[in-house]
């Protein structure tokens, strides 16, 4: 039932697949509304005609449907009650428990003043050496996995969530398969970490336009914990390609001229608005965003990964290493732009040199492999490099390895000593003296 302050209209003048128009007065931009009980948001006002974007789709909406305007932008009730809950794109429970109560906050709020930000400088260890060794993450960073849809990215995200040293984890699922949703739910319950997780889930079964609300919901919750509770919050967003597709659908229905790859011209700003919520506050609170961007056929020149790459601080690639039969974090194409702020400072002093030496030796192995495939003879060094590459891949790059940041460096030193001479590893002498052959 409509309450006293709400405005109710019944004259729908136009219906498209994603929007409908209604004659109404005094309606505000971006206001939340319900059309025949479905959530909607004002996206355009032209005199007394108001265009509403219907998140659940317009199927079956009659021209005499009741349109109730709520007089406020979409919002979320934030508070401690969110913890451990699974909610939908509107912040409503999907776990059969009561609606969480708390302070009502508009989603998609203002940006942080850049002069009030702190430079990120705190290590975010994930326990996965393929990330921590070569692509070290920092709190307040934003970074996506660029992955083909067949890679086990949900498993990696869940692993990161379980291992990462953070106070809260907010999962935003956009077009997530129901199986993946249940996988996350079970993994989190089994690991007994539900007390630090909040999930906003839109599955493939839910209307696609609803996905547009998920990042704003997840980040509004994250801002509550980071700003008011000064907590380290990790936000996982999967999959941002589905989010971009939903944007394209809406802009298409609103007759906007598409730019590259049928994406809206505002794609960069739309994605930046989400990713730039990643922040380090001076009082210790932080929001770190790890997202998934699925690629089509590994094409990173497509608008979505391309714009993402310009916004995020690096990217992580998953790759199946056929030599060891495991999925690894690709050390060549992955990059964390902020790693320089922590490696060798917040991790052990030998980290930068060990990282570079290992990647260089791994590159030697890659060259040897090309040589082998082209039918050239391998030198003795090539053979050793290949053997090193297998060990390095299995013991450090594979996503199922779990080590802390000191252990991973020790393992690297062990592998160096096993396969190479001091000259071949070529690390600064004072570090060699300290770590060579000490394990």
């Amino acid at each position: 039932m409509a309450k006293a302050f709400q405005k109710v209209y019944t004259k729908i003048t136009k219906i498209t697949k994603a929007t409908c128009s209604v004659k109404a007065q005094g309606i505000t931009n971006e206001e939340l509304a319900f059309v025949a009980g479905r959530s909607a948001q004002v996206v355009k006002i032209e005199g007394d005609e108001v265009v509403l974007q219907i998140f659940g789709g317009t199927e079956g909406i009659p021209t005499n449907a009741e349109v109730i305007f709520m007089g406020k932008a979409p919002s979320l009730k934030v508070g401690e009650q969110l913890v451990g809950r699974f909610l939908n794109a509107y912040g409503e429970p999907i776990d059969g428990r009561p609606q969480p109560e708390g302070k009502e906050v508009e989603i998609g709020g203002p940006s942080v003043n850049p002069v009030r930000r702190e430079q990120p400088s705190e290590l975010l260890a994930t326990g996965i050496p393929g990330i921590d060794l070569n692509n070290t993450l920092v709190t307040g960073q934003k970074i996506p996995f660029f992955t083909d849809p067949d890679q086990p990215y949900s498993e990696v995200m869940a692993l990161v969530a379980l291992h990462a040293q953070s106070d809260k984890i907010i999962l935003g699922g956009m077009g997530m398969s129901n199986d993946d949703y249940l996988y996350f739910k079970n993994t989190f319950s089994n690991a007994g970490v539900l007390d630090r997780i909040v999930s906003f889930i839109n599955t493939t079964e839910d209307p696609s336009v609803e996905r547009l609300l998920i990042p704003d919901m997840a980040l509004t919750a994250a801002e509550y914990f980071a700003v008011e509770k000064h907590e380290k919050v990790l936000v996982l967003l999967s999959d941002m390609t589905n989010y971009a597709d939903a944007l394209a659908i809406v802009s298409n229905r609103m007759d906007q001229i598409p730019s590259k790859d049928s994406m809206p011209g505002s794609l960069y700003s739309d994605l930046a608005k989400i990713y730039e919520k990643a922040v380090q506050f001076p009082d210790g609170g932080s929001i770190t965003i790890i997202a998934v961007t699925t690629l089509s056929g590994g094409d990173i020149t497509h608008s979505v990964p391309d714009n993402t790459g310009y916004i995020t601080e690096g990217q992580l690639y998953l790759r199946r290493d056929t030599d060891i039969g495991k999925v690894i974090i690709d050390p060549f194409r992955s990059l964390s732009r902020l790693k320089q702020l922590v490696i060798g400072k917040k991790t052990r002093e030998d980290h930068p040199q060990v990282m570079n030496a290992a990647v260089r030796l791994y590159a030697d192995a890659a060259n040897a492999k090309t040589k082998m495939e082209n039918g050239f003879d391998l030198t003795e060094y090539d053979e050793r490099a290949l053997a090193f590459a297998k060990d390095y891949s299995r013991e450090l790059l594979a996503i199922d390895v779990s080590l802390n940041t000191t252990e991973m460096l020790d393992v690297a030193w062990k592998l160096f000593a096993k396969h190479f001479t001091i000259e071949e590893v070529n690390i600064k002498k004072e570090l060699m003296d300290k770590y060579w052959g000490k394990n």
Binding site: T28, E31, A73, P110, V112, N113, P114, K260, G265
Partner: protein, 587 residues
Amino acid sequence: MATKGIVTGIVANLVTVEADGPVSQNEICYINVDNAKLMSEVIKVIGKNVYVQVFESTRLLKAGDTVEFANHPLEVTLGPGMLSKNYDGLQNDLDKMKGVFLKRGEYTYPLDTEKLWEFTPLVTSGVTVIAGDWLGEVIENHKKLKIMVPFVFKGNYTVKEIVTKGEYNILHTIAVLTDKEGKEHPVTMIQKWSVKKAVTAYREKPRPFKLLETGVRPIDTTNPIVEGGTGFIPGPFGTGKTVLQHAIAKQANADIVIMAACGERANEVVEIFAEYPHLIDPHTGRKLYERTIIIANTSNMPVAAREASVYTAMAISEYYRAMGLKVLLMADSTSRWAQALREMSNRLEELPGPDAFPMDLSAIIANFYGRAGYVILNNGETGSTTFIGTVSPAGGNLKEPVTENTKKVARCFYALEQERADKKRYPAINVLDSYSKYLEYPEFQEYIAEHISPDWIGKVNNIKSRMVKGKEIAEQINILGDDGVPIDYHQTFWKSELIDFVILQQDAFDEIDAVTPIPRQRYMLDLIINICKIDFIFQNFNEVSTFFRKLINICKQMNYTHFESEEFNNYLKLLNEEIAGQAKKDA
């Protein structure tokens, strides 16, 4: 009476207003909502309907909201007190804003009205002056700044009164000027200027010719930029655009550096905030932030203000240029600005040009780059605005409208290459694709002949053609194999590698290597060219690579040591021994 209006339509940040009086294109107006006034700019007028772009979020705006027109276009406030400030795209002082989050409709004054400045008059009463003429001088951050006749003044004025040397705040009337009709105009230390209009208070704008030293070898040595020149840096993500831009901003021999962070990552601006207080200007020995102004409109800040931010930055640079200063303006990235234009053009339902950009994109870019330049002021002094913009081409493809249109107008082109970045050859500037048109200017050649050496440009062309040959041979070796080409080819190839590693690659994170002053660049170029001139004799191709790898290693160590220090000279000795050793073998 000021024109008023009423909101009739809203799509994202495009608002339609019905106005009750005259309005002008690009006029500023304020929309009243929620106890705040949202600043907006008129971008189209059809009858009574005025289309405005709002510089803020339009959430909870409604039809019927009232609008006040301000009767002036978007302006900057110019005066002493701007150095080391952090502004947003509309010149609001970000440090003065309260709270962690930006508040809609909060506008802060860009200057300090209370601070007293020691003012020294430069004219006496009775003299005739025109717009841009220097009335007096104040000192800010150890720089002599001029107080000028406001740029908007037209024609001749007579100085009726000028205050004596003393301390005044920026609002104090420091002079009274009389126009031809005898009307008196009080002048303070500040003036306003419409950002989209070029400041033309100068006598002449000749072709620029003076080298602007950046300390970056693949710029200064191979494709130099000049005081008042224009350049652009396109590159896919991850090729080091921002690192290169920051290197230029830190090291360039400029009096004032203005950095417009236009639609890029907030953390990159934070990096400047965190680093600059610790960095020293290599040319004056003073703190780097003393000469720097940051205009931050990061990617999550309102899109319309992104477009404004580059104009705000340009207008501020022209203000300092009129004082006879060397200004360097950097914008990262101009693609984001073009995208902001595209978003608005799309909402206005204009017919799109290529890639849905507005049809006049090319004119807009040309016009903006055209505002840079080297000028001779009315008093004979000179000043310059050098502009370097980055471009973020979609998908790394340089055949897209922003890159192509920029290429038409910018005189220097620094192509960052993915392949070089992948090989960690930084800065990833492809010296063969890049160019500097200034190398062809006779006046620049004359300047270089006098200030570096008469045969400098010949040498630069020499290493460029060696790079071309090296590249051709590398391709042949790839196809034919190492022993499929003569040993001489290997030598030519490795000489190009020597040039690449020693001259073209530079470690931006090493304190010494990051900045190479011109005398040192000249020394190293001579050194490398002389090595290249020697015809070494080798028995096989392995010997070639081993020998040149040694030379490269020694020369790189030289780059990492202080110029002409003992360590440097020791490496030089070692280098000469290696060369002599190889020369002996063939004897």
